[in-house]
């Protein structure tokens, strides 16, 4: 049982790396979207799942990565070399936001992050150097799908490994303590703000890397695409539906979402139903299985004794 995650991880890695050899472009595109989903969901989960700080403003980091890449590429920097700077800028921005925002708790933090996301989007649409609301185009001749696919797949694997490593570390334990009871954690000497900032910066950097690759792949970005609220929304929904605070949850969630998206886009009548679907899924998960798909699987696989309490003690705060 313990070897199963590692084995399935290795199999997934081998499959992703070999995929360009035998799969057609359409399927590869779907895998690319799936990888993007895995990255975003796993990265969000570092802060939202492990530390329990639900942010609805993650499109800001994706946008920072994307804009950094396009703006530098337009000035002649090779696109892939712009990735570290985008990640660094996003991490710095996350600290600048986090320093004040982490003084807020629970839903107050969440509302503040909606505000941050909106402020960033509105600003990107209003200032001149970002091309305003009409967006920016990458310089022509800078696109190589296979390279981009490998980069995205590698980043997806990296983000899952990162999540596993974080959870197994003392850092992960501190984040779990913050989620369960921040006051108790702080009274035991956990520097909650520092750990939250660190988790925020780490996840922001990973999301920005994905944002850079997003820009390189689509060759065109605008505030309406990379800073979109709906993007922030799906970044939250994937781990929530899959299972918040687990390693497999965000991956499962990304799998469900990319499948839904691909299937939905194929059916014209259902094309406009994705909000209904996302919202409906969210309602169902919260009402019936707050543990998401992972929680559901756990419930189905473990036989509980009839006397065992049905519900776990909910986290405080």
């Amino acid at each position: 049982m313990k070897r199963l995650p590692a084995a399935s991880g290795l199999a997934a890695t081998a499959f992703l790396l070999a995929a360009p050899l035998f799969l057609d472009r359409g399927t590869l595109n779907d895998l690319w979207s799936l990888s993007l989903g895995v990255i975003l969901a796993s990265a969000w989960n570092l802060l939202g799942g492990f530390a329990g700080q639900v942010s609805l403003g993650y499109s800001a980091f994706l946008g920072i990565g994307a804009y950094t890449t396009v703006l530098l590429s337009l000035r002649g920097v090779p696109p892939f070399l712009t990735l570290p700077l985008g990640a660094l800028l996003a991490a710095l921005f996350s600290v600048a936001i986090g320093l004040p925002a982490f003084r807020l708790r629970g839903p107050y933090f969440t509302i503040a992050t909606i505000g941050v996301g909106e402020a960033v989007r509105v600003s990107a649409a209003s200032v001149a150097f970002t091309g305003g609301s009409s967006g920016l185009r990458m310089p022509s001749g800078s696109f190589d799908f296979t390279a981009n696919f490998y980069a995205m797949a590698a980043l997806a694997i990296f983000s899952v490994v990162l999540a596993a490593a974080v959870r197994a570390s003392a850092f992960g334990t501190a984040l779990a303590a913050i989620r369960q009871d921040i006051d108790a954690a702080e009274s035991l000497g956990v520097n909650a703000t520092r750990y939250k900032l660190l988790a925020h910066a780490l996840s922001a950097a990973v999301v920005a890397l994905a944002g850079s690759l997003y820009a390189i792949n689509f060759q065109y970005i605008a505030p309406g695409s990379v800073f979109d609220f709906r993007l922030s929304l799906s970044i939250v929904l994937m781990p929530v539906v899959g299972g918040v605070g687990t390693i497999a949850g965000p991956v499962l969630g990304a799998l469900v979402f990319s499948t839904l998206q691909i299937k939905l886009l194929a059916i014209p009548a259902l094309r406009d139903a994705y909000l209904l679907l996302y919202g409906g899924l969210l309602i169902l998960v919260i009402l019936y299985e707050p543990g998401g798909l992972v929680g559901l699987l756990r419930r189905l696989t473990t036989r509980r004794q009839a006397t065992a309490p049905e519900q776990e003690v909910p986290d405080a705060g």
């Binding site: 807020l104 503040a112 505000g115 909106e118 929304l233 406009d272 919202g279 409906g280 919260i286």
Partner: protein
């Protein structure tokens, strides 16, 4: 001098609408300690219902509000009954589950609106939409004036409800001290349902009023949700007066920025959100809390 009059008159008129929309959020928070993210969706729905009443049945939008209020009250009570299990107040702090749940409701409402009314931009154009009147030498659009009248009427109704009826007393009691209210025999579940209905009704009313001032799509309402949130953070979440003060402060800042600075209007929302951010951090108890804190500050010896 005329600039000052422009700012004051416009801010005062806008504050009425802002207070209506913020109170819907405040009453639900007060009684249930829930932040109703579906508020934006309900405002959007209010706008569309007003539009349908206007286009199909030729009901004047402001007359339509009379129907929108009770209709949305029932919608709110129904929503509470369906989602009740997760909406029931669990502790002193708002739960993340209820936030995400209501977020889901917002998305579903948005999609319903896409189905029923399509994603096209809609607006309500009446005979008086483009008329204007002069107040203190400031030209003011007729709809803004009517919106102010309608919000003043609904806030007056609310004040009477809160001060004169059992429901109002019970709402205030649960908001101030839930345990004491329960000990005195207040039926928390019933009051919560009614408060949720009341909050939904006010969101619907605010949406109906917004529809006479702005064009809207199913995506409408997000920036107004943030404004409403900003107001209850500024004004404190407890009283109608606090909400009104918060609304006035926000409206003054917005109108002041528009008249006295060169900040482009597209940036205005960013300013609101920054203000929200600053307010949340600088005085989490709201302006009333700030005043009490200043008043209580020990005198240095």
């Amino acid at each position: 001098m005329t600039d000052l009059a422009t700012v004051l008159v416009n801010a005062f008129l806008a504050a009425g609408l802002y207070a209506t929309m913020a109170y819907g959020l405040a009453v639900i928070y007060g009684v249930m300690r829930i932040i109703n993210l579906a508020h934006a969706g309900i405002m959007m729905l209010g706008a569309y219902v007003t539009l349908t009443l206007f286009e199909r049945f030729h009901v004047d939008p402001f007359l339509g509000l009379v129907a929108v209020g009770p209709l949305f009250y029932l919608l709110g009570v129904a929503l509470y009954r369906v989602l009740g299990r997760s909406l029931r107040r669990s502790g002193a702090a708002p739960s993340m589950d209820s936030l995400l749940l209501l977020f889901g409701v917002w998305l579903v409402l948005q999609n319903l609106a896409y189905y029923v009314w399509s994603g096209d931009t809609q607006s309500i154009l009446t005979g008086y939409t483009l008329k204007s009147v002069a107040i203190l030498g400031v030209r003011v659009g007729a709809p803004s004036l009517l919106v102010f009248g309608a919000s003043a009427a609904s806030l007056l109704f609310l004040t009477l409800l809160l001060s004169r009826t059992y429901l109002g007393k019970a709402i205030r009691a649960v908001t101030q001290n839930r345990d004491a209210a329960l000990l005195s025999g207040v039926d928390a579940d019933r009051i919560s349902a009614m408060a949720f209905g009341l909050g939904t009704a006010f969101a619907g009313l605010a949406g109906g009023m917004l529809s006479t001032l702005y064009a809207f799509t199913p995506d409408f309402g997000r920036s107004f949700l943030l404004k409403a949130f900003c107001i209850i953070v500024l004004g404190g979440m407890e009283s109608v007066a606090g909400v009104a003060v918060g609304a006035l402060v926000l409206a003054l800042i917005e109108n002041g920025l528009a008249v006295w600075t060169t900040v482009p209007t597209s940036f205005q929302d960013a300013v609101t959100f920054t203000l929200l951010f600053v307010a949340l951090i600088a005085f989490p108890q709201g302006l009333p809390g700030l005043f009490t804190r200043l008043a209580r500050r020990p005198v240095p010896r």
